[in-house]
């Protein structure tokens, strides 16, 4: 399901606003964000915690609703989509990777991936996806028996096994040490390169920005800077 378009726009968001109503106070997580995401690119969203990056990613992924503004994915408007349309969108088009992996603890690595491939169209077999992330051998282990890096790689395998058009990663290395984090980033880089999956990766770690095609900085719910890396650094050369 990945796209072969070159430089086609996958996401177009305009005026995205998100306000959390916390009873007596209102928290503005996003304050009118405009963003385009191009086919096949690797975008890094940088920002300190509380800057609204996760909220942005969640709205792009159909996990949350915007308070105001529009998101257009290809030719459909996500902000107007019904619950079942969003479900269908997540099911066939989007892969998620979360900071805390969010694996289902009662399923093995293989079964965690299968839980997704079973409901997708034209999915990989779980073994193939797990081989892609370099986890050929430990596929019958339960999450509790895997290291953090391994768990995150299972989560990536789970996200890419359905061959999504977009891969949305929320602090994928946030819970990992740098060596393990780099292994995970290498996997994401490879998926982006080999499968051409449009990838948005959010992090507060500025060092990771070097591997992106484009880098976008968020602060306090607004985009403060966008720049294109002339030269991408391979993930294995990153250090922090």
């Amino acid at each position: 399901m990945f796209t072969t378009e070159v430089n086609g726009v996958v996401f177009q968001a305009r005026g995205l606003t998100k306000v959390y109503d916390m009873g007596e106070v209102q928290v503005h997580a996003l304050r009118g964000v405009d963003i385009d995401l191009y086919s096949g690119e690797l975008l890094v969203l940088l920002g300190p915690s509380g800057s609204g990056k996760s909220t942005l990613l969640n709205i792009l992924g159909g996990l949350d609703h915007a308070t105001a503004g529009h998101v257009i994915y290809r030719d459909r408007e996500l902000t107007a989509a019904s619950d079942s349309e969003l479900t269908e969108y997540r099911r066939y088009h989007v892969g998620f990777v979360f900071q805390f992996y969010n694996l289902i603890p009662s399923l093995t690595a293989r079964e965690n991936v299968a839980a997704v491939t079973e409901i997708a169209r034209d999915a990989m077999v779980p073994e193939e996806a797990l081989a892609l992330v370099g986890l050929g051998e430990r596929i019958d282990h339960f999450p509790a028996q895997l290291s953090g890096g391994e768990q995150q790689r299972v989560a990536i395998a789970r996200a890419i096994a359905k061959r999504p058009s977009v891969l949305l990663c929320d602090e994928p290395t946030g819970a990992l040490d740098s060596t393990t984090g780099i292994v995970v980033l290498e996997v994401l880089e490879r998926v982006n390169r080999e499968l051409g999956t449009t990838t948005a990766l959010i992090t507060h770690n500025a060092d990771i920005a070097a591997m992106a095609d484009r880098v976008m900085r968020l602060a306090d719910g607004s985009i403060v800077d966008v720049h294109r890396n002339i030269e991408k650094k391979p993930a294995r050369e990153l250090r922090w």
Partner: protein
């Protein structure tokens, strides 16, 4: 197998403690349901088969004496299928080694072949030789009460002559499933028994050759019982008929029917309550269980699982739990049902037992359980999937804690932080706290309802035998006799006080309703047998008018001041003639109607509170006047000096005119035994199951609270709280909720008991709503012990909380 199904199986394994506790609640509900209804159905089926196989008759009548030829005319009554005549006689018995007075009923068996009706099931020995005049077969309950063996003898006073009888067989009869002595409230197998004897010698002894004094009929398919009874009454009237009656008025059948009614009430009300409570709890606990899964639901949603798929996934989880509870409940229910049916088989002395579990019973239990499980599941899943996945993946912690009411009014300085946490947690989730409280309260109520009857029964005995029927003995005479007979009783050594009574079988009519009972004429100033008002104060019987058991007045729809029409079902002619009185008018209801005379109409002047039986009272001389007879009695209440009791018994036995004696102590013992074997056994089993449910509820509440708050508590441990301190936070909340639930549970239990009492009211007895402190304390103990055990189990889990995991994972 699909990955999600594997997840399901592993989740069930992981949650096995909770799953089992929920299933246990359901096992309690379902097994009570299965046990009760299958027992009831089995008894009905067995009774029906017993009646059919042993040809229990449909219409009965006794009379003074009629020629055998009359039977050939009776068979032509429209609606009558077959007719059989018998000779039946009341006799006094003298049982070797048994000092108390005992009496029996001699029933003839045909000279040739099996009886047409009311066949007997031969347990041991053989039937009597038709030619033998000293052989009897006796009922098994009577035999067991005295340890009679084949070949043993006992003597009977047959028509004034003492006769030695040899027991050749021991039998059961559908006609005497209950052997109740006339005048007694409950069967007393030691002092009253049924004996079958060859017809020829029995007829000879009572001058019944070519004649009969008892008749039984069966009916054709479409016959109307009332019409046949009326026609039969017309035929028998000239022969001293005592009023024919259908099966529903046959003493043993009626008693059994009443018992079955009560059983039906218990078998429907109890399990409905239990199953209802179990269903409610299932709903609550499954809902909470699903709630703890909300982050997994969010993940599944994030990956594109539809709400329907997620709903179905958790539905399967709920169905598995329900299935475990159902299978367990059915298995336990069948086991208990068979056991209980066997107890009842033994109690009712059915020769066999047909255990029956109707598929509909299982299906109904399954439907209720599945519906409750699904409701709990779908409600929670619906709530979980309504959240956007991004929100669902965050732990459910509404941040809106606030100072509780207690703190706002300025009492906070009295409470340490953990106590404030307890109070705030309860106040933050009032609905959840309320559901927990309701769950524990309903469990408490169930325990109370299963336990209350014992108190009520003791109270009944106190009222009946301590305040109302205060006599030590009551004797009845073979026939109505002049009140002078009292002098000979009074003169017996050991008799302290005697009061005569006149009792006459009647059918009371008011508007279109009627009821067959006895009209009791007692001494107005009598000290032994008292009539009580609703405050249990003694009512002085008025000179005219009748006082009825409140329950009877309700059956007849009468109020004080209404006039009841009395149809007398006794022909008193011969005795009065013998006593030298003028020939009185015989009263028959038909005559009353025909002549439309006001003669036998009596005003209802008051109602009396009585828990046992259904009676109507008036002054004895008023009854005598009503019957246009002289100073006549047919029984007496006696107070004895306990030192001379056996002498009194011996002397009474020697009096040929005394046909039956009811001993008060024996009646109480008998009453207790009856209650123990039926109701109390049932309630004991129910109380156990109620306790199981109670435990399930409390344990679930604690266990789920733990899974909801495990992270929070582990974090506190990391901060240096001891296990004891975090246990205080979690279990303190449970303790508060449990204590809040108790008073509510008492109220709920009392309401349930009131409902049971209203459902239990019958001709035989009405259970008063009496809840002694021990009913409350028993329920309290069950709940508290459940709470303590649950607390202990949760404590053990708290000791094993994984502190590292808390630090590692998200929040």
């Amino acid at each position: 197998m699909r990955a999600l199904d594997k997840k399901l199986l592993r989740d069930v394994m992981r949650l096995r403690g909770v799953v089992l506790a929920i299933a246990l609640v359901l096992v309690g509900g379902v097994s009570t349901f299965i046990m009760s209804l299958s027992t009831y159905d089995s008894l009905l089926l067995t009774q029906a088969k017993y009646y059919r196989d042993y040809r229990f008759a449909q219409v009965f009548a006794s009379l003074k004496r009629a020629p055998e030829t009359l039977a050939r005319r009776i068979v032509h009554i429209q609606g009558v299928d077959k007719v059989e005549t018998r000779v039946v006689a009341a006799v006094n018995l003298d049982i070797p080694g048994f000092g108390d007075p005992a009496s029996g009923q001699l029933v003839s068996v045909p000279d040739r072949g099996e009886p047409v009706f009311n066949g007997v099931y031969l347990r041991r020995g053989r039937m009597v030789d038709p030619a033998s005049d000293d052989e009897v077969v006796i009922s098994e309950s009577f035999a067991n009460a005295h340890g009679f063996e084949l070949g043993d003898t006992l003597s009977a006073t047959i028509n004034g002559r003492r006769k030695e009888l040899t027991i050749v067989g021991i039998v059961l009869s559908p006609e005497y499933i209950y052997e109740i002595q006339p005048g007694a409230v409950f069967p007393d197998y030691q002092r009253f028994g049924i004996l079958w004897m060859a017809r020829a010698p029995l007829a000879a002894a009572y001058d019944m050759e070519g004649a009969f004094n008892d008749i039984a009929l069966s009916l054709t398919a479409n016959a109307n019982v009332d019409d046949v009874v009326d026609r039969l009454d017309e035929f028998l009237r000239p022969y001293g008929g005592r009023g024919a009656y259908g099966r529903e008025d046959q003493l043993s059948h009626k008693f059994l029917a009443e018992e079955f009614n009560q059983l039906e009430t218990m078998a429907t009300v109890f399990p409905m309550i239990f199953l209802g409570v179990a269903a409610f709890l299932l709903n609550v606990v499954i809902g909470r269980l699903i709630n703890t899964e909300r982050d997994q639901i969010a993940i599944l949603k994030a990956f594109g699982y539809t709400n329907a798929e997620i709903g179905w996934h958790y539905t399967k989880l709920a169905l598995m739990i329900v299935a475990i509870g159902l299978v367990g409940g059915v298995v336990v229910g069948i086991f208990l049902g068979k056991g209980m049916s066997a107890v009842y088989q033994d109690f009712y002395r059915f020769p066999f037992l047909q255990y029956e579990l109707k598929p509909s019973v299982v299906i109904n239990a399954a439907l209720v359980a599945v519906a409750a499980g699904l409701a709990g599941t779908l409600f929670s899943v619906a709530r979980a999937v309504r959240l956007p996945p991004a929100e669902g993946m965050r732990p459910e912690t509404p941040t809106e804690y606030r100072a509780t009411l207690v703190e706002r009014v300025g009492l906070q300085r009295w409470f340490a932080q953990p106590t404030r946490m307890i109070m705030r947690h309860i106040e933050r989730r009032p609905l959840r706290a309320l559901l927990t409280v309701l769950g524990i309260a309903s469990a408490c109520g169930v325990v109370m309802v299963s336990n209350f009857q014992e108190d009520a029964i003791h109270y009944m005995i106190d009222v009946q035998y301590g305040m109302s029927s205060r006599e030590d003995l009551s004797v009845s005479f073979v026939e109505p006799t002049s009140a002078r007979a009292l002098h000979s009783l009074q003169g017996l050594t050991g008799v302290a006080h005697v009061e005569g009574f006149r009792s006459v079988p009647v059918r009371l009519h008011f508007e279109h309703r009627s009821f067959r009972t006895a009209l009791q004429g007692i001494e107005p100033g009598g000290d032994l047998h008292r009539v009580l008002d609703k405050d249990l104060k003694r009512i002085k019987l008025p000179a005219a008018g009748v006082v009825m058991t409140d329950y009877l007045a309700k059956i007849l729809g009468m109020r004080t001041g209404d006039w009841v029409t009395v149809e007398v079902l006794e022909d008193s002619e011969p005795v009065l003639r013998a006593a030298g009185f003028a020939r009185p008018k015989t009263f028959q209801f038909a005559d009353v109607l025909a002549a439309s005379q006001p003669a036998l109409r009596v005003p209802l002047v008051a109602t009396t509170k009585q828990y046992l039986g259904v009676s109507a009272y008036l002054q004895r001389n008023a009854l005598n006047r009503l019957l246009e007879e002289g100073n006549v009695i047919n029984g007496a209440y006696i107070a004895t000096d306990s030192r001379y009791q056996s002498e009194v018994y011996t002397r009474l036995k020697e009096m040929p005119r005394v046909s039956g004696t009811v001993v008060r102590e024996a009646a109480i013992a008998q009453f207790n035994q009856t209650m123990e074997q039926t109701i109390l056994f049932f309630t004991m089993v129910s109380a156990t199951l109620g306790a199981v449910i109670a435990f399930g509820v409390v344990y679930n509440s604690a266990r789920i609270a733990l899974s909801e708050r495990g992270r929070e508590l582990a974090s506190l441990r990391v901060l240096g709280f001891t296990v004891g301190e975090i246990a205080y936070i979690l279990l303190g909340e449970l303790a508060v909720l449990t204590l809040m639930a108790l008073p509510l549970g008492f109220m709920f239990g009392r309401a349930l008991c009131a409902y049971m009492v209203s459902q239990f009211a019958s001709d035989l007895y009405r259970i008063p709503l009496i809840l002694e402190p021990d009913a409350y304390s028993f329920a309290t103990v069950v709940i508290l012990v459940s709470a303590i055990i649950s607390g202990y189990l949760v404590w053990r889990r708290l000791c094993r909380l994984d502190l590292i995991a808390v630090l590692k994972t998200r929040e």
